[in-house]
Amino acid sequence: MNPYGSVDGHRTLGNPGVGQAPPTITHSFQPLQPVGSPTRLPDVVQPPMPPTPSFRPPQPQVVQQGPPVGLYPGTQGPQPSYPSPVSGPPFPGYGQNAPQAMAPQQYPPQQQPLYGSYPTDAPVQASTINPMQPQQPRQGYWGDVNQLSQGMAGMSVNQGFNAGWGVAPIDLLQNRHIIPPNPVIEPPKITLQNEYWSSVNCESDIFRCTMTKIPETSGLLQKCRLPLGILIHPFKDLPRLPVVQCNTIVRCRACRTYINPFVHFIDKRRWKCNLCFRSNDVPDEFLFDPKSSTYGDPGRRPELQSATIEFIAPSEYMLRPPQPAAYVFLLDVSWNAVQSGYLKIVCDTLLAHLPDRLPGDSRTLVSFIAFNSALHFFALSPECSRPKLMTVKDVDDVFLPTPDTLLVNLAEIGSCVEDLLTQLPMMFNEPDAGNALGAALQAAHKLLGPIGGRVTVFQTQLPDVGPGALKSREDPNQRAGKDVHNLNPATDFYKKLALDCSAQQICVDLWLLSGQYADLATLSGISKFSGGCIHYIPGFHVTRFPLSGEKLEAELGRYLSRKIGFEAVMRVRCTRGLAVHTFHGNFFVRSTDLLSLPNVNPDAGFGMQVVIEEALTGVQNACFQAAVLYTSSKGERRIRVHTLCLPVSGSLPQLLHSVDQEAVVGLLAKMAVDRTVTASLTDAREAFVNMVVDMLSAFRAAEGGGGMGLTSAPNARLIPVYVLALMKSVAFRVGTSTKLDDRVFSMCQMKASFTSLPLADLILMVYPCLYPVHNMSDEDAIVESDGEIIPQPPRLPLTYERIDSGGVYLMDSGDKLTFYVCRAINPAWILAVFNVHHFSHIQDGAIDLPELDTRESKRVRSFLGHLQAQKFMPATLVVMREDSKDRMDFVHRLVEDKSDCGSSYYEFLQMLKGLVK
């Protein structure tokens, strides 16, 4: 079946696409439920509890009977059923009156392109409303939840897939080929007491918990031996986001929780907070329906219909007027940097993005500072047509030569900036080897201090002049050693500066394009604590290593054009009894539940370990709410709120079956990074094994799965192989030569990124997808509306056993696609795809495939395009021949095999079996 074709048809049913501006404000909000979908009804009339109307209407002139129970958001137990003063069915998204109830919301028109700009958006939003469609699971955005909740027996990929494995315990030793052929591993479904709640719960790629049920007591959690925590991706690009503008944002008086779909309405005028259980009044505005000028039914409010919502904040949410978008670019122009040729790529990419594709408005400010052993400022002003270069040689005591003309309005000096960017790559030609990064950062901090904003640093070597100068700490002979040193910073200069920046709402993003050791462990501090992001392209050189230039251009393009939120804070609240214990990510923790994020970007992810402080006895659901308060690039103060609701369970077997294996692995990786830095790598590796052993032992104890095998809950079956892969990943491996910076970067990635698709990139980085591409059939292929056929080859386990000597394989490791060609490949295939006659003529290290008009070439390229379209940053492609010198890179990724970095998967299982009691 073609998922796209019919989806497109469905879109015309009345859901305007994101790109189309809604005709009026009143109609601009799109109900999240399928409008008029016939399948909605069965859910509606199957309430989990019998309806007992306890609330009598003051005027019984009801046009239509109140809705059945399941639909009322926030209802548990005996149900009040409210008559609606407005005619029409009062439940959300159903019937003609729905748009009226949505009156107070709007999509501000200027925000539209931003929501639509993400390449994978198109299929995502298209999938919204087709409950019949077995959609590509990771793409189902709003629709996926609905479609799962429809109870369309067995229609969704998830259910079909699970049926294959069943719910019975799995013997890992008997099922060695554990990796499913489908590359998309569906996150487990969260089932709440009523269908409505299950259907509105927060998307799993925004908010995810390591367990789909919360243990009732901490003792029970102990018995499960599972890490409890949440992974959140708060600022993810969303294809559809309800935006609300109102005078008062309804929040709990006691704990300041935002009203959400999971609150309980005691009656029409009071709601009970689902986090602290205190009862609150419903303000009149919340009941008011401006369209019909009547007091409507609170159930229609978008706040109660969507677990992800954005508010336009009134003035009490501002400490100062919203800041303009301000960008400072720090460019390394030391001799090393000039030779690597990065400047040309950066300047060209900037030229292509300024001014329109950089988020901002008419107030947007920019500045450029170049640095080698001195600082070079560029005075830009509308009067002078040419940028004026000012060099400051004194790097120990930084001052700004002309503060007024350094940070300037982009709209006014556009042509001047273009001039500068065109000349910049040729400007610095003297062989000045020094690098005064510390001073340059201080200058940027001074420049942005009064405003806040983003500093983008391009760095190519170890800073060695002025404040923050560093010395090389890496001993190349120790690279393969058992224990790794120097993972901690050498100085706290960068951390302290980052905290100063954070206090003034400045975020520093680091781009390390380095050929040799640059002490990322120390430099990363500048981004880690200022809410920034770190990009690292090892061995960067434009001519010697063309792939690196390609990668820089692709990543920078996404970086410059993606959404950005300024002067942000994020608060995470959870149901009373639960508490956030440890935070993982790039930010500064300002108080127990408040993270200070000078900038927030759509690709940033956070992890939090959660502890159960008080037993959740008598509580049916536990909720987590994350709220990000930020200033948009258009100078609007906004609050984005995500609420995740999970059932509480007191049954150990149930809990053991409620593992979300990918989330567990994601959180484990973050915890292990902490352990490595505070204790040692050996400790972290031991902790990995212990965690798996504990988990399997707990399962065996609870299920009594005696006998010879090694049984695991079906939901947790991939944890051992993922953990093995983690221990062989760049961050945690031992025994094979690993550069310190590579290791530190890998750790930074694990710690900070949740990454765009459901954990997918972290998982891909650890356990890449391997596809055979030499014999792709059209079976199961996706047929695009324009006739393009996208083959769907099955995913292979990462073992050399499955590599055929005459095959060609594509390995997708998140940011890199490796096209591995084996020696004995059929020459006809080579001709069809590479247009050469012999294996030895294939260019090793090529970064693209020729566009040929053969069936094989088309299939391969359309499959590559399909993989690229799912990524938030385009991946780089590299062709690798079996006799390539980089072949070991590929072989090391075959993590199920025995290698110098560890045992094979089977040996690992045998070892686990010996340890499990």
Partner: protein, 136 residues
């Protein structure tokens, strides 16, 4: 002289110990303020860090005095704490200024509760030794 050297050193120890009790209380209050989101961790660390070394040095100084006066038992009672202080300071996070507390990791629930526990235990110890010196 009415005072012998041991008596004198006990008196000094008593006075210093009173100060140490105040330090411990100050620490406990400070960490509690952090836990209840009353203070910013940067400010709090900035106010706590300068106090760490003086506390350690004061404690070591009167122990040295006691050692000179030959009060072996008292010194032995204090020795574990001295060792703990030395170890704790050696394993402090990377910092350019003196002190122990790093604002980026202090909000970590484990670190915070460890610091709080440390504060209470030290308070207990100082109060105990205060009476010990008083009657000793």
């Amino acid at each position: 002289m009415v005072f012998s050297l041991p008596a004198f050193s006990y008196m000094i120890a008593l006075i210093v110990d009173a100060f140490l009790i105040f330090f411990a209380i100050f620490h406990i209050i400070a960490f509690d303020e952090l836990k209840t989101d009353y203070k910013n961790p940067i400010d709090q660390c900035n106010s706590l860090n300068p106090l760490v070394l003086p506390e350690y040095l004061m404690h070591m100084a009167f122990n040295l005095l006691l050692l000179i006066s030959g009060e072996w038992v008292t010194v032995l009672i204090n020795a574990p704490l001295i060792a703990y202080h030395v170890l704790r300071y050696k394993n402090r996070p990377m910092m350019s200024s003196p002190g122990l507390y790093d604002p980026t990791s202090i909000m970590n629930a484990d670190t915070l509760s460890k610091c709080q526990r440390e504060g209470w235990i030290k308070l207990g110890f100082y109060v105990f030794s205060f009476f010990f010196y008083l009657y000793g």
